[in-house]
Symmetry: D2
Subunit: 364 residues, 4 copies
């Protein structure tokens, strides 16, 4: 009987449960999980930082092979034919396409009908398998599925994870002009992804501020022109001085916040040149308030952007990008720790403790 | 001998001084002051909230008639011929046109070479007359001068004051889409100007939040569709509920902050719909920090804009706008209190105490 | 038995036919026609300028009252409850919301699944009533319906017709900056609508080029600052000279082509100032090629925009706009000629011969 | 006595003349020419396709070493100190910074005060040396000079030439979204430069249409994903079919015209997907009219852009880009033919006959 690692209570160990395979309704697809990523957000959820209903199968970065196709499913989101055995990935949430936010305001990520696999579905009701930490994954009708090209490794897709599509959306909303100087605050998965997107989008000098050392080495590997180690340059004023020195005295054209700590936002706005742009990308979760002076936005004449989750087209772009840039941006190297489902708690701990660049579940 | 009301020490009464008329260097212009506005910023300066060198002649919203033309001055900024006797106004600061911010980044209001009449020049050195509270005003070479059309009243220009061009620039940077719902926070001169610009720029429903009552009546006169009186609806949560109710449950497409109190910024971001826009316009001065949660920008996927001062083209637009919209947007009615220079302290107090919609100096 | 005026052959008189009322499938709505506009495009279709399958009931600008609601239809596009007897209008075509153009590229008007009422449906198959020139109109599932507010006259909605939403979309794509000078080429329904949208969107001086005289008077009534009568100023070079003279010597910031004659496009690009914008809006139908020099786009550094049809949100905006601006932009006065269905050929001729500002069908 | 190759009559051989070195006025700089590029535009000028006053020293892509600094010249455009002996390049034209186009409309390349070195100055008056085909080059006051970094080869700068900054400006105006599919029409210097800019700006698949074979090989070397050889695929319809096939059936997101033949523009608009963007970049010179149907812009809902010349910031970007991307985009390899001034006619012929990727003059 297929298994899943289930979150039954916050801060409690995940439980390995056996669950019955569901029937496949028209439009749905059943996938056999091949690899499922463990995202930092999963740790936050496990710690109770999102008010969700339990029990839940975590996991929203998943690749698998089609086991069964529901009636009427013939093509993926890009129009390619799909069949049993095809290797696929998918967006973790689906917008309705017809509401005020989808159709009027073209902000589909704020569609009130979205629910995310691995977060927003209880697993004690059929079809049960609505998260990545499991042998199977059920894809409800209207899920935006992508068949993966043969020359794109599963490790690349899961290694990039939701960090890449989050960064793609955030950079898209912010806009990086060709040869802009860019500061990335944070060297975690989102920071590395933002670095890759910025570099490939035409940024000139890119400076990454973060730590620890191995993550800054990863940033170098992904093309960072300069790195600032927060363990060495400990004061915001010193980091500001350094950024100014590296940008002709002005500050960066664009600063991308990928940290998730409110104080980073206060620091980050000062890192912009006057008339520059600031993206607040790392605050998907609510990390609380901070003392901040709105005068900085007026005085520096800033533009500040938020970006929430991502759209199907960002996953499409991500797949093309990963395939074409395996050497330049080796996201597959992110996958450093592999676990089977029975070691789920060990896997979650590896991510929580920053042991791994990326931990994943693989089929046993 | 010509006189000026001079700020010699913060919080001290202005002194009426006699000063010698300067020689006119090539490119400069001497103007006989006809009307000079008293801006809320003048009160802030008088209170020491800007670190400027004294003594200074305040006043940066001025209309006068040309008394003498320096060598080589033949045309105004728009290319019209100018002559002695012409009624003119001008931008209070001039950008260099060639620096990093002017020429590379096209953010001329952040040019480091800008100094503002009425703020940034000492009056104890020639040419002395570099502020509005005086019988004459010296316009240095490169000042962007505008000849006023005969059918545009001096009261309209000074009544609109720097508030209008500030609002024009801020709304330009933010962008209001046709039929957007708009909230204006604040019913002072900048709020009323932002309302006028928003309405004329195609906004749909415009809601003004502010007080006291006479200012909200002025807002109605300038086309506000709804007003929310902060003396009646005292809680931010209640104002948020009201704004949502007036905008189909979502919040406004665009919110324009014209208050200058940090807490208004925290409240204002919540008044935006998801994916909406927020302009921080009222924080030209530093009013200090506030507790704020950056998660709101990510979650609501906001765009936040700052805007500093204004450019010559905004004054050009303002003049055309005021001339064409005297009935719809009666800025001339703003001028409610007139003083001569010898009553300068009375005039400043009228503005400080919110007695006047707008106090002005007129030639005695 | 309900009747319709049917186009059975190009250039042939419309035939009055009786057709059976269809059953109402779930999601559909049956409407009793109250007023149906005759668009210039209907004349072009009648002349065979679009390769459509006949027989067809023409008419894509219609207001009616709900006669029957299909199962599951409870709310209009804006979320308002709808019931039998409500007065409604609707978009003439519906996009799928999920294809490459709808979901990836956000160009829903180019969705390949769109078919327009009054153009793209044969009437010799059930549900027959898929055009405006009929006693009833069947609205297929997913049609975007708008309940009309009581204080908005049916004449306003039909008088504005598809011209207004076409103009809203076109001006949105082009972007008019506050106080921009604008030239509208053409004084037909689309030109008048573009004028109204431009004026209300913050345009400064608006110049309308067109004819004949009554249409230019209409343009004046809708706020044109200047009109140029093509019967008086017959040469493009003379019109260019005039536009330059009216725009400080430079040409207009924005030129909106609402003519549909290819030569107008060649003339219109020259009417732009350097770095200006040009909208080609009048070429929904293919009016053939023209000699044109692409050097003009490079040399003048132009931006040229096309715009096709409109989206539901444009109709929503139109309804709010019409309601709020009855005095300033009296679209209801456009409806000058009323006909019953049995006089359908007379009605079409009135539009073809430019006798009417707007001809409409009304219930008999 | 210093020499120059002078154009004295259209279609006539250039004449080698000796000219006196000018005095250096304050703000000016005298440069000893190190390398001067021969642009395709020089050939057009030689053929009389621009109405300029002769005699002229051609050449507007030049690198040299500072020989004398006029009074007051201390820094280059980026703020770096400059001194005699420094290797520099410069923009060929300077905008005034204060006119309607510079200051109001922010279109400085359309400043009416611009005159280009190598095109717009007669050489029979002092300071004579205002073009590249000479031993010296005089840089008038306000010329925007750039000191070249030591790790940037002169060949890179001249090899990129005005084609690169033209392409940077054009792509900036058009905007390429990350992962956009792009077609470049033309494989000449501007086409290759546009390819490099597009690729580095985040384009996904880039298809180059052009010829002959060596230029397509160069396109491959610069990262073209696909090339279409116009000598093999001779019909526009066949090229359209191929582009559609390579872009999922839709056409490209962005098409960049770098050909200069009017028929290419007609073909190119069809190569765009609906809602796509089209840049007309190759029509700096007037190559005459063509039959074109404006319906295509409406129906496909296109955005069409023109771009004229370039600004100082584009040259600044180009220098940083060339330095950082020597391997990926080897512009230095473009310089294939070197001549001394006494072989000027041979040099011009090499460019006219497409013998060379790039011909240059070098100091003898």
């Amino acid at each position: 009987m297929p298994r899943a690692a289930v979150l039954t209570a916050f801060y409690a160990p995940l439980e390995l449960r056996e669950l019955p395979l569901p029937d496949i309704e028209p439009g749905a697809v059943l996938v056999r999980t091949e690899m499922a990523g463990i995202c930092g957000t999963d740790v936050h959820i496990w710690q109770g930082q999102m008010p969700i209903a339990l029990p839940v199968i975590l996991g929203h970065e998943t690749v698998g092979r089609i086991e069964k196709l529901g009636a009427g499913v013939e093509r993926d989101w890009t129009g390619q034919a799909i069949a049993v055995g095809d290797r696929v990935t998918w967006n973790s949430a689906v917008s309705c396409g017809a509401c005020f936010y989808c159709a009027e305001k073209k902000q589909p990520t704020r569609c009130p009908h979205r629910r995310a696999y691995g977060i927003g579905y209880r697993c004690d009701e059929a079809p049960h398998f609505l998260g990545g930490y499991a042998d199977f994954h059920y894809l409800r009708p209207r899920t935006t599925i992508f068949k993966l090209p043969d020359d794109l490794a599963t490790e690349s897709v899961v290694g990039a994870g939701c960090a890449l599509i989050t960064a793609i959306h955030g950079v898209e909303r912010t806009g990086i002009a060709w040869q802009d100087s860019v500061v990335v605050q944070g060297a975690g998965p989102v920071g590395i992804a933002a670095l890759a997107v910025a570099k490939s989008a035409g940024a000139g000098k890119v400076i990454v501020i973060g730590g620890p050392k191995p993550r800054l080495e990863m940033a170098r590997r992904f093309g960072a022109d300069e790195v600032i180690d927060i363990d060495e340059v400990r004061e915001p004023a010193a980091r500001l001085a350094l950024v100014r020195q590296l940008t002709g005295g002005y500050g960066a054209d664009v600063v991308l916040e990928c940290v998730g700590i409110p104080a980073a936002v206060v620091e980050g706005m000062e890192l912009c040149r006057d008339g520059g742009k600031y993206l607040i990308l790392g605050h998907y979760c609510d990390a609380g308030p901070v003392m901040w002076n709105p005068h900085v936005v007026t005085r520096k004449q800033l533009q500040v952007f938020g970006s929430w989750s991502s759209e199907p087209r960002h996953l499409r772009q991500a797949i093309e990008f990963l395939r074409a840039n395996r050497e330049r941006f080796p996201f597959h190297e992110m996958v450093t720790h592999r676990f089977t489902l029975d070691r789920a708690n060990e896997a979650l701990a590896a991510t929580a403790n920053w042991q791994a660049a990326k931990s994943v579940f693989v089929a046993s």
